[in-house]
Symmetry: C2
Subunit: 236 residues, 2 copies
């Protein structure tokens, strides 16, 4: 059973990596962020052309669900994991919903509820979904799943606030992508709305709330605690 | 139980419609077929812009799997249905694999194995996957699922051969999309490779093979038989 569980967990991780990579490839497209650099390398459409980049994203998104549906998970857990990941990647409060709001906000002044919606759905949703999917795949009890859902939501939100800050504070070389693009494209960001100082304070507060959700798990949550601290302290 | 089964079947149908619509929206994009008309109306990117068209396709693809994962299907059947639909939509022998081969073949002379691969994966796979998914959701026995898989493969393949013929033979007004685009874009098609007469004969032969797979089911397969005859005889 142990190797079976491990294989299931690896499949969940692979599926989420597929969804993450699809979202980066489509995000970088000329019609969206029009980015030439990602992780210090030319973006997919720069290397393979736009048609193949669109299809590669579609292929990875589909592969994510194929990977989950054929994983050695107990079927009742399998469908719950798929439902969580699809909700995190989709519209309403998911990644695509956030992207659409981001496209619509581009170049216009944004208010606090809009930017909060964008950050929580565009980025936090998939981070939250990944943590919840892992918990379900591993057979966590309902209360624990909900604790980890709140943890994932806070830490995912903090991740995006930090991302906005790094875009202002760091160089393209450090980030491995084009720095300063948010301001150049008049993107809805925390620094644009609150300034750098207050944005840092918001990230720290979200981190504190995230860590509070982990307190219940004690030493068992050591890895998640380190992950949370790393995500907020990172400089690239 | 009856209304439960009906709801499950409706969900499978809705999910496939989501995938079909996503594929049309992405297919019509400027970087792919660059089509301005679909079903007699302006295509998605013409009305909403390219960014929203890309995201709408992504949203529909994700929604398909969310719809299946939350459908009232017995979980073991649910994951099998998701695996079938994902394989039909994905790479290797699925829709995206066929699209990539189609993009790569564009403007070059194509041989018979290439065109067969493109047709069977780009179009036949999703038709076959839809029929197989319905069979699994309804609890069909393994042998019956495999008979319906072969039926779906033949009829899906015939559908694309007929589609190629209609592009040559009919007007844009009849088709509700731009006619003659295949030749204009030097697309790999059956008429381009075999001419109209032989392509008609191939479609008829595929229809005959498809109907032979249904013989075993007798009167129970009346709807599928009518569907097969309609797909080959249609003029738009």
């Amino acid at each position: 059973m142990f190797s079976h569980d491990l294989e299931g967990a690896i499949r969940v991780g692979s599926a989420i990596e597929c969804i993450h990579t699809y979202s980066l490839i489509h995000d970088d497209l000329p019609a969206l962020d029009n980015d030439d650099l990602r992780r210090g390398k030319p973006t997919s459409h720069k290397v393979f052309g736009e048609a193949i980049a669109i299809l590669a994203g579609d292929a990875l998104l589909t592969l994510a669900f194929q990977t989950l549906a054929t994983a050695p998970l107990e079927p009742a857990r399998g469908v719950r994991v798929i439902a969580e990941i699809a909700a995190a990647a989709g519209t309403v409060d998911g990644m695509v919903g956030g992207q659409v709001a981001d496209v619509e906000a581009g170049g216009k002044p944004v208010d606090q509820p809009t930017i909060e919606y964008i950050h929580r759905s565009k980025t936090a949703a998939l981070i939250r979904g990944s943590i919840v999917a892992g918990a379900i795949a591993g057979g966590a009890a309902t209360d624990d799943v909900e604790r980890l859902r709140r943890f994932g939501d806070y830490i995912g939100w903090a991740f995006q606030v930090v991302d906005d800050l790094l875009d202002v504070e760091e160089s393209s070389a450090t980030l491995g992508k084009t720095a300063g693009k948010d301001r150049a494209q008049a993107k809805a960001t925390y620094p644009a709305l609150y300034g750098i100082e207050k944005s840092r304070a918001i990230a720290a507060d979200l981190e504190r709330r995230a860590l509070a959700e982990l307190a219940f798990f004690g030493e068992r949550a050591r890895c998640l605690r380190q992950l949370a601290e790393f995500l907020v302290a990172r400089r690239s």
